[in-house]
Subunit: 156 residues, 2 copies
């Protein structure tokens, strides 16, 4: 069965409550707010936290790649990386195979920082998926992956 | 089966690609960008579009309710409503049962504006759900509804 299209403009709150982009926007904004609040004491909020996490996962990234994956504007990514270098949490590298390519890597101190906040992230995530069975979460992740492939404009 | 917790910090791109909050953040940002670009010619982008849509669905809302539902800061909601009043797309009302309650409603002109952009929204949505079966979209909507209930701090 193909996905139905929404009957826009909506004529009831119920229709709005069933509209995927509305739910996603509300949830993404609330999640970012709650996460930043929970991380307030840890000195790694917002872009900093996303950039460190992406580097942990991907090991070595250019500013351009980091900007896409951390969903942070390129200028903010550059500025945040400067701050993280100063704090000793990341290091700039020159790619061995192509010296024109400048990349960023996590330092052991940066990795430790992420390990420190890991319990906070885990608890936030547990609250988020509370009462939802694993299979439904997995279906949702697959749906979001396909949607991202449908609309994204970057290869990564 | 209860939902698993992520193994944060992630140690591969694959783990990142399977992490719900990461996917949601990338998708929500891309969706908002694409929608604004598609609506560039229609003079109803961003907060304007979200506020009009919420009013179509809910008929009558206070600024506070509008701010929550349209995921827009209260001050921006107020300012945008002022602009929409000037354009004749919404009207301010005094609640009949409690005169202290000021609400906002869509005008017929505001509704027509939404009807005008309806084909654009429908096409964007079709692109988003392309290749995804209806049942998976519905599962995903249910998951997002439960997640929102888990984390939200407003009753609406």
């Amino acid at each position: 069965m193909k996905a139905e299209t929404p009957d826009f403009p909506f004529s009831s709150k119920e229709e709005l409550d069933n509209y995927f982009p509305y739910l996603m926007n509300r949830l993404a904004t609330r999640w970012a707010f709650n996460q930043n609040r929970a991380l307030a004491g840890a000195e790694v909020q917002g872009a900093k936290m996303r950039i460190l996490s992406c580097l942990a996962a991907c090991k070595e990234l250019t500013i351009n790649q980091l900007s896409v994956l951390s969903v942070t504007e390129q200028s903010t990514t550059s500025r945040t990386v400067d701050q993280l270098v100063e704090e000793g949490l990341v290091k700039r590298h020159i790619n061995k195979s192509d010296q024109r390519i400048r990349t960023v890597r996590l330092t052991p101190k940066g990795f430790k920082k992420l390990v420190t906040i890991s319990p906070i992230i885990t608890e936030l995530y547990r609250d988020l998926v509370s009462g939802i069975d694993e299979q439904s979460v997995r279906t949702c992740v697959r749906v979001l992956q396909t949607m991202l492939e449908n609309v994204r404009e970057h290869e990564i």
